[in-house]
Amino acid sequence: MKKTILLFISSALLLAVSACGTKSTVVLVPDPDGRTGKLTVTNQGGTQTLDQANQSVQIKNKKTAPGTPEKLSHDEIAAVFSDALAAQPLPPAKFTLYFLPDSNLLTQESKKLLPQIIQTILKRKSSDIVISGHTDTVGKKAYNYRLSLDRAKTMFNILVDNGAVPDDIRVTSHGEGNLLIKTPDDVAEPKNRRVEVLIR
């Protein structure tokens, strides 16, 4: 009930605000990978499409169509949006580590990743870490479920021994149910013998 009232008040506020004339600006910017997507801005007056980096459009009110797109300079964008941009959390970091056959021992190659993983957790002060254990399709399903759990728990212990908080970590075991490389049953595939560590 309270929620409904709150929503009503919020909606009323939204209406009140829009009634007395707001003005909006929308800017399409490249994402962290450097790709620029596409967006449309629509109101009762019409629609405008943005599909180029740093293109912007202004909206005067809900009845007047969005204006002609205009490119903004980096300085113009920073002047308005620097605090919002600085507040962006980092997107989650994902690491994949591989294991020796039928074992909870990491490959030499994957051991080298450990310092970087631990550094990432500590630097971000992440309180939201997901470890998922996997196997290839050699052996029985039930056995592989236990093996992948063992691998995930091994990773859990490594992270906790290096300063991660146990309560911040979720451990999941997928056995052979979530293959990175699709194979038939009873196929040894090094890339499937893995744990994935997601640091959010």
């Binding site: 709150l6 605000v17 909006s24 962290p32 967006l39 941009l85 962006q88 959390p89 939201d128």
Partner: protein, 146 residues
């Protein structure tokens, strides 16, 4: 007889608790200055690590900002003197159900698509008081002046 009623009650209540526990939709990851979360229970200061729920209202004060990471990895950050309502958010990839509706009242914000924006962009709606933004896997910035 009485016991069975109690069991029935427990059976009815347990899913509610379970739902309340798992239905958070995102986490506050960064804060600067005054950040407030308004929900039916009242308003509380927003801290790093706080969970967010559908229909939450987020407000920032002067010289303040906050960054949110949603469960689908959508990144939304707010600049100073900003207010948004997370009107709807559903991320159920196992059922193929997605929805994200944000109403921005005022201020500045940066939005970066997550899984919902990539897999189901038509379900994402970002409203300002005078327009609706529809996205196709992208990052954009919005300012609303009042």
């Amino acid at each position: 007889m009485k016991m069975s009623v109690i069991y029935l009650l427990i059976a009815l209540l347990v899913p509610c608790f379970a739902k309340a526990d798992t239905s958070f939709i995102g986490t506050i990851k960064t804060t600067k200055g005054d950040v407030t979360v308004v929900r039916s229970a009242g308003q509380t200061p927003g801290h790093v690590g706080d969970k967010l729920y559908p229909e939450d209202v987020l407000q920032t004060g002067t010289n303040s900002s906050t960054g949110i990471l949603f469960e689908d990895n959508t990144v939304l950050s707010l600049g100073s003197d900003t207010e948004i309502i997370i009107s709807d958010y559903v991320f159920a990839p196992e059922k193929g159900i997605f929805s994200m509706v944000i109403n921005m009242i005022k201020g500045t914000a940066s939005y970066l698509s997550g899984i919902i924006g990539k897999q189901s962009p038509e379900t994402v709606e970002f409203h300002t008081p005078d327009a609706t933004i529809n996205i196709r896997g992208t990052q954009f910035l919005v300012k609303v002046e009042i």
